[in-house]
């Protein structure tokens, strides 16, 4: 039934030419018919689908919408013209019945459905504007006119003006159209119009409450829209509305029976949210059955208060001068105040601040009452948050509020921290203490301790709190100052939010990471980042362990894998779980391999997979924070930056993913699937040169300095020791990861690209860690990305020019190990268990071996032999090793390297250029070495290559 109804929409009665048809949603169908059908279709749909249509409900919605939208978009101009003529005819004769409503609804859809502008005839636009401003037209129609006009905006020729509009309702409607135009001048004149009405103090005048939101919007769009005296006058009235709204309920007008005359009934005083009679002045938390106009204004005034205080603050324009007080007395505007409270002793801005303070104090008191309705209890929390935010603004504007504020916030904090239901309200309170704590001698540290240790562990699963908490951390960075340490050591706890809610929070953490990481925690943080999907799984288990079996939904994975939950309580792995779920940095990093096995059943969970997808992005942010800038002074050799890529022998690494922007990361989440990444070689990603290298003293102070600059470009701090640690960690963890589908490959890509960056940061690490690197290339290893970059780094940095401690023996050892490795990856029979070796790895291996040979010339004959073997191997590749194009690339590379090795001095120059080659003159002066040499070499290489059979 429903299906048929929707099908009916598809052919559509585009021209309205089938008067008899029962199409109900055709855009141009006659209004009477469509009105009929609107009555029947839902009923029919609901009844017809019954239990059967269940799962398709959503799609059905979409299908109906889809076909209507298509119709609206496909309407041609002449059709639209005819339709507009019909609309005009209706509006012109002021036929404001259902027909006009229906036609305008369709017109709105046609205008709004396309992103391209729809042109309506001038008379039609004019009629829409006239109807909009008509005092007698029904609201429904006027809103539609406003919506159509707004949807067309911004338009080049707006003719609507607010100058002659008197009624607040009309002004309200016109404002919605004008504000959408985005023209500053119009916004300002709108502001003046509204102010004029507000100032025209008619006792029984138009309802002013519709105007306040316009004022609020106008001042946010054009802060200079109101003149200073207007701002002052309005500030004072806002203060009055806040503080002196009636405490009696509105009057209920009973129409009276047949014999009785209509009479007004007073309903008595307003009440608190818990039902008690109001004890003090009216606020948004005061309830009753009916509300008076000034109570409405009270609500509006509080709703716009914070923004108004900020926008109208004298700090923005000029400081409040002494004249204020005297001016006030004689001001014509000062008598505008509609409410009571004659004679204000304070200048308007201070008056408003004072009233705002009292209001917030009262809200704090009211928020402790037990609300009778759920909605009111939600509002209490929102009000409490707002009150604290307003108090914060007040104390910033006038520190004399501080002491009074603290005396109410201290007990509030104590009350809130004990009640989990109010946890979100705790954040602004904490922020207040952060900002003003020092002045008020509050132990801010205790506040953060509670915040960072308790809340994330208990509330990581609330998406809204997670978002707010991370925002809080981001916003608080400039305030934390010397307390940044608390935030930094709490990263294991903060990562719980990330592990559980990775899609919305990844970009926030990318921004937060540079401030979180420091030399003391970098190693531990990298471990935890690599274990993030495992943390997700552990949190999942933790959450489940708190539920009883009956509470779990039927699709719960732990039912399929009950062993997980039992293991969670098992004393043997308890320690590991506790380590993984720790609240603060422990200074150690345990190997979690037993947990990986145990949590394997959870590895397929969508949440774990989502987290795993976010990790590469986070790793990139981590490394960019650690390795951003320059190598450090004291390194045994000069800086590496600017070093030219040694021509054809540069590393031909696999395609490295470029450090993606935050946007791209979100896009990756929005469209799962491999995002195309531009190619980038390992050497290219190396840090930019920096002439000013921070000395050790400077480095010590960086911790504090960085807390103040929140950008990603903060100076790096990884010294040689840390770079070595991270490099080894990277090798060690490359084959020790939680097995989530696709995780290892993604992580390897990042780790592979970061290894050369660490080496570049601290080139001697290759010599220093020779033993570990030898073990790595000689041992079992996974994907080619990490291996290729390690091999490349060996070729690049294992040289006396980088570290004088480098010995011939070391070079020989590496040569032998890599020779064996090359032999292994190319000669071994194709096996189903081992992944095929990518040609990039073969290519990098050959290059590195040649580089090593050029530095220890005894090895040249061996290298040449090896290369010729490779060349012939690539010509007739063993089945399954390398093939096709890949074989061709390997062959070419082998040939090039062979040619270079024929001239050992050239080879040495090309493979191990002197550091001086990085100086600019080598690139500028055509007669000096480099360009000339490179040209000669490439000619040599090409000629030789040309002589060889293709």
């Amino acid at each position: 039934m429903r299906h048929r109804t929707l099908h009916g929409t598809r052919p559509g009665t585009l021209h309205g030419t089938r008067p008899g048809s029962r199409r109900c949603c055709g855009l141009f169908s006659r209004s009477r018919q469509s009105a009929d059908c609107e009555g029947c279709s839902p009923g029919g749909g609901g009844g017809g689908s019954g239990g059967g249509g269940g799962g398709g409900g959503g799609r059905m919605f979409t299908t109906g919408a889809e076909s209507l939208l298509r119709q609206a978009r496909e309407i041609r101009d002449e059709e639209l013209g005819k339709f507009c003529a019909r609309v005009c005819a209706l509006l012109r004769k002021e036929d404001w019945g259902p027909g006009a409503v229906d036609a305008l609804r369709r017109l709105f859809l046609i205008v709004s459905a396309t992103k391209y502008s729809r042109r309506l005839e001038k008379p039609c636009v004019a009629l829409l504007q006239t109807t909009l401003c008509s005092p007698t037209c029904p609201e429904q129609l006027q809103l539609l006119c406003a919506a159509v006009l707004r949807e067309m905006s911004p338009s080049d020729s707006p003719s609507l003006s607010c100058d002659h509009i008197q009624g607040t309702r009309q002004l309200d409607l016109v404002a919605s159209v004008l504000l959408a135009q985005g023209d500053q001048q119009q916004v300002r004149s709108l502001g003046q119009c509204v102010l004029k009405v507000l100032e025209s103090r008619q006792p029984e005048g138009p309802s002013l409450r519709h105007l306040l939101p316009i004022v609020s919007k106008v001042t946010s769009l054009a802060p200079d829209a109101l003149r200073e005296e207007q701002t002052r006058a309005l500030s004072k009235r806002l203060g009055d509305w806040l503080r002196y709204a009636s405490v009696q309920q509105g009057v209920a007008h009973s129409s009276g029976g047949f014999f009785s005359t209509p009479r007004a009934r007073q309903l008595g005083p307003v009440t608190e949210v818990d039902g008690a009679v109001a004890t003090d002045f009216f606020t948004v938390l005061s309830t009753g059955q009916r509300f008076t106009e000034d109570q409405w204004l009270n609500v509006q005034a509080f709703s716009m208060l914070r923004a108004w205080l900020l926008d109208s603050s004298p700090g923005g324009s000029s400081a409040p001068d002494v004249d204020d007080r005297s001016e006030l007395e004689g001001s014509t505007l000062s008598v505008l105040s509609a409410a009571s409270a004659a004679g204000h002793p304070l200048p308007p801005q201070e008056w408003l601040q004072e009233k705002a303070f009292e209001y917030c104090q009262r809200l704090l008191e009211q928020s402790s009452r037990r609300a009778l309705r759920k909605a009111d209890s939600d509002l209490q929390k929102a009000c409490l948050v707002e009150a604290v935010l307003v108090l914060d603004v007040l104390c910033r504007q006038d520190p004399s509020f501080l002491y009074r504020t603290l005396s109410c916030l201290r007990p509030l904090y104590t009350r809130l921290r004990g009640d989990p239901a109010w946890v979100r309200a705790l954040l602004p309170v904490a922020r207040f203490f952060l900002r003003h704590g020092e002045a008020a001698a509050v132990d801010a540290e205790a506040v953060y301790q509670h915040l960072f240790t308790g809340i994330p562990a208990e509330h990581f699963h609330s998406p809204m709190l997670a978002f707010e908490f991370v925002q809080f951390c981001r916003d608080s960075l400039p305030l934390l100052g010397r307390n940044l340490g608390v935030l930094r050591t709490s990263f294991p706890n903060l990562f719980k939010f990330l592990a559980w809610n990775s899609p919305p929070l990844t970009s926030d953490f990318v921004a937060l990471l540079p401030s979180l990481v420091d030399a003391g925690t970098a190693v531990e943080m990298l471990h935890l980042l690599l274990d993030l999907p495992c943390l997700t799984a552990a949190l999942d288990l933790q959450l489940r362990s708190l539920q009883t079996a009956s509470e779990r939904p039927p699709w719960d994975v732990s039912i399929r894998a009950p062993g997980c939950l039992e293991a969670f309580r098992d004393s043997q792995v308890q320690g590991l779980f506790q380590h993984l779920l720790r609240a603060q940095a422990s200074g150690t990093a345990e190997r979690l391999t037993p947990l990986y096995r145990l949590l394997q059943p959870l590895a397929g969970c969508a949440r774990v997979v989502q987290c795993a997808e976010a990790v590469p992005t986070l790793l990139r942010a981590f490394f960019s924070a650690v390795t951003q800038v320059s190598p450090l002074p004291g390194a045994s050799v000069p800086a590496a930056e600017g070093r030219p890529e040694p021509g054809p022998t540069g590393p031909q690494l696999p395609r490295w993913p470029r450090g993606r922007s935050v946007t791209a990361d979100r896009a990756a989440h929005t469209s799962p699937g491999p995002a195309p990444v531009p190619p980038r070689t390992g050497a290219e990603r190396s840090p930019q040169g920096s002439s000013s290298q921070p000395g050790p003293e400077q480095r010590c102070s960086l911790g504090v300095g960085r807390s103040l600059s929140l950008s990603l470009s903060s100076p790096q701090f990884a010294d040689g020791v840390l770079a070595s640690q991270l490099a080894l960690l990277l090798l060690e963890r490359s084959d020790s990861l939680y097995q989530v589908p696709g995780y290892e490959a993604g992580v390897h890509r990042v780790l592979g690209s970061q290894f050369p960056a660490l080496c570049k940061l601290h080139p001697p690490l290759v010599v220093e860690q020779a033993k570990e690197l030898l073990e790595f290339v000689g041992g079992p290893r996974g994907g080619g990305h990490v291996l290729a970059s390690v091999v490349w780094a060996i070729g690049e940095y294992l040289s006396v020019s980088w570290d004088r401690r480098c010995t011939v023996e070391q070079i020989n050892n590496f040569f032998e190990a890599l020779e064996a490795l090359l032999f292994e990856v190319t000669q071994s029979r194709p096996s189903t268990t081992l992944p095929k070796c990518p040609p990039q790895v073969i290519s990098v291996l050959m290059t590195t071996l040649t580089k090593l040979a050029s530095r220890s010339q005894d090895l040249i004959p061996r290298a040449s032999l090896l290369l010729s073997k490779m060349r012939s191997l690539a010509q007739s590749p063993a089945p399954g090793s390398v093939c096709g194009e890949d074989a061709g690339a390997v062959r070419t590379r082998a040939t090039e390297l062979l040619n270079l090795l024929k001239m050992p001095s050239v080879a040495q120059f090309v493979f191990t250029p002197s550091v001086a080659a990085s100086e600019p003159r080598y690139h500028r002066d055509t007669n000096t070495a480099l360009p000339l040499a490179l040209r000669t070499v490439s000619r040599l290489v090409e000629r030789e290559a040309g002589l060889l059979p293709g």
Partner: protein, 199 residues
Amino acid sequence: MVHVFLIHTLRTTKAEEGLCRVLYSCFFGTENSPNDPQPHGAERDRLLRKEQILAVARQVESMCQLQQQACGRPAVDLQSQSSDDPVHLHESPCGAFRLTAGDPFQEPRTVVWLGVLSLGFALVLNAHENLLLAESTLRLLARLLLEHPRLLVPTANLLLRADCIEGILARFLPHGQLLFLNDQFVQGLEKEFSAAWPR
């Protein structure tokens, strides 16, 4: 201050056919900066706004899909509910995320969203808005729109009921101003709205 309110379709998975469609959107004011070096003309500005809204809608859809998957809820769950059943808004997926400056809006914004049946509701807010208030306002708007007779059955009707949405927004979110309305104020406004709107 709310910058944009929008309603759009919500597919359960990316694989589902069709596209994410914006069914209704309302910009409250615009963010044309006064010192925009290159005024682009009305038509391009309008196009830009529409693209911005669609960009938000797509992100909300993804966030909602990801959250639903992460909760382990089967894909049909969100939509299997017959539209005749009362909708439990408190169980509906909801969340918030940040939009950095320049993507797609000039200034940084926060998006609060709510997924109900096959519809996504979202508010684009200034960066430091009261999120508790924004969230409850969004739930209130969604409830009012869902409760209004026949508004959502099927969505096609929503496309042709702009007046109703406008009427609700004009009262509960006037010019994008989030209001602190207690339950009695909400009831009063609801009555006023019902009286003004012929059912």
